[in-house]
Structures are given as structure tokens and as C-alpha cells.
């Protein structure tokens, strides 16, 4: 299957997922690019065992989880860079970043499971297949994520 075709058919899906997973525009675009780089690298090995959409979701979800983990590891460095060089964010961007603040309280896997289940409305079995974890793990992570998020939202008057 040709990469250009895969990109055209699935760009919206990947963008929707990554843009609901990370807060800043810059991070989203970086992550989006990283996902498609991985897809282009793995595409020759794709044998069609799973549906291509599930396969793409799997790459996107795992890349996104690792992306956030990496970010958390180097967060002090990123903050320093932002403090030194970043211009004031646009109003629209700032609003979007505020919207993602409560999600930042979840660990990357909980966040991905919540986004897939609640925002993307995927079935728990599908999520388990995407992330290669048992359905029980998906359920418990989703439950925990909802609890954390509900508690966190109590401190927000508006978003």
C-alpha cells in the first residue's frame, strides 16, 4: 500500500487523536509527524492481519504515549527553553492549552485510554487490541482516569 494513500485516508483520524492528546500546537504537529514517520517505516511490513485503521490507531496511540513520557522526563528542560525564548502564545492557543490542563493530571496511558474511550468512543475491546493490553486493564485504567479527572474538574469554574 502506498504511503501517500495511507496519509490521505488517515490524516484526519491521526490528527483528531493527537490533537486531543497533547496541549500545544507545536507538540501536536511534532507528534503528528512522528506518527506518520513511523507509519511510513512500518508500512512495508504491514500484512493486513488487523484492520488498517486499528493498526494506525495502535501506532498513533503508542507513539503518543511515548511522546508524553519523553516530554515528562525532560519537562524541566522544556520549561527552561520556553522561559528563555517562547513568545507569548496566541489567545486561541492559550484557551486550547487550558482545556488540556485537567488531562495532564493523568498518566499517559490513562490519558490515552480516556481519550479513546470517551472522546473517540471506541469499544474497550478495540482499545485493548490497539494498546495490546487486556480488557480488564483498559477498564481499570478508564475507571481510575475518570475518578482523577472528576476530582480535578472540581477546581475549575470554566475552561
Amino acid at each position: 500500500m502506498e504511503f501517500t494513500l495511507v496519509y490521505d485516508q488517515h490524516k484526519e483520524l491521526v490528527w483528531r487523536l493527537v490533537s486531543r492528546f497533547v496541549a500545544s500546537r507545536h507538540d501536536r504537529e511534532d507528534l503528528f509527524q512522528e506518527v506518520f514517520l513511523k507509519i511510513s517505516k512500518a508500512l512495508p511490513k504491514f500484512r493486513g492481519e488487523a484492520k488498517i485503521e486499528t493498526w494506525i490507531y495502535r501506532i498513533a496511540a503508542n507513539t503518543a504515549i511515548n511522546f508524553v513520557k519523553k516530554q515528562q522526563r525532560y519537562s524541566w528542560f522544556k520549561r527552561t527553553l520556553e522561559f528563555l525564548g517562547k513568545e507569548e502564545a496566541q489567545e486561541e492557543e492559550r484557551e486550547e492549552e487550558v482545556l488540556f490542563k485537567p488531562l495532564a493530571k493523568l498518566n499517559p496511558r490513562q490519558r490515552m485510554i480516556l481519550v479513546l474511550a470517551e472522546v473517540e468512543e471506541k469499544k474497550l475491546e478495540e482499545i485493548g487490541e490497539m494498546l495490546k493490553v487486556p480488557v480488564g486493564t483498559v477498564k481499570s485504567n478508564l475507571y481510575r482516569a475518570k475518578e482523577i479527572l472528576k476530582k480535578e474538574l472540581k477546581s475549575y469554574d470554566k475552561l
Partner: protein, 91 residues
């Protein structure tokens, strides 16, 4: 306080913009120059091995040709001019 359902609704509504064509060009560019880490490490190892072998080889060659000519030994008894009878090397 914001309700959980309201928050999820806001997340669903959020539609950040992106220029897909521009990002595709960037992805395409990176794909061409994308070098997997493993391949990069292998290439670097080959380069280092090649460099060290080349270094050993050239130092060996240099040691072989280290005989620098220091002076000539002439036979002063020759009537038809000085004839070189030996060479003195610095080795």
C-alpha cells in the same frame, strides 16, 4: 465547577487546525533523510573501524619509510670526481 460530561463534550468539540499539505511535505522530507538509529550506529561503527584500520595501515607504512637520508659517503680517492659509496639513514 465543570461537570465531567461537559468537559468531555468540550474535548470533542475542539478542532485545532493544521495544514496537512505542509506537514505532508515535512514528513516526506524527513522520510528521505530518515536514518534508523540502528543503521546509523552500524554506519558509524564501520566508519570508526575503517578509520582505525586506515590509521594503523598508514602508521605501518610510515614506519617502513622512516629511513630519512641523512648523508652520503663519498669515496675521496676517486680521480674522476666524488662517487657515492654509501648512504647514512636516520633509523
Amino acid at each position: 465547577m465543570i461537570s465531567y460530561e461537559n468537559y468531555i463534550g468540550k474535548l470533542k468539540e475542539s478542532r485545532p487546525k493544521i495544514n496537512f499539505d505542509q506537514v505532508f511535505a515535512q514528513v516526506f522530507h524527513k522520510r528521505i533523510y530518515y536514518f534508523p538509529k540502528l543503521a546509523m550506529a552500524a554506519a558509524l561503527t564501520v566508519f570508526v573501524v575503517f578509520l582505525s584500520l586506515f590509521g594503523v595501515q598508514s602508521s605501518y607504512q610510515a614506519s617502513k619509510s622512516d629511513d630519512i637520508l641523512m648523508s652520503y659517503v663519498f669515496d675521496s680517492d676517486q680521480s674522476s670526481g666524488a662517487v657515492v659509496v654509501d648512504y647514512v639513514f636516520d633509523n
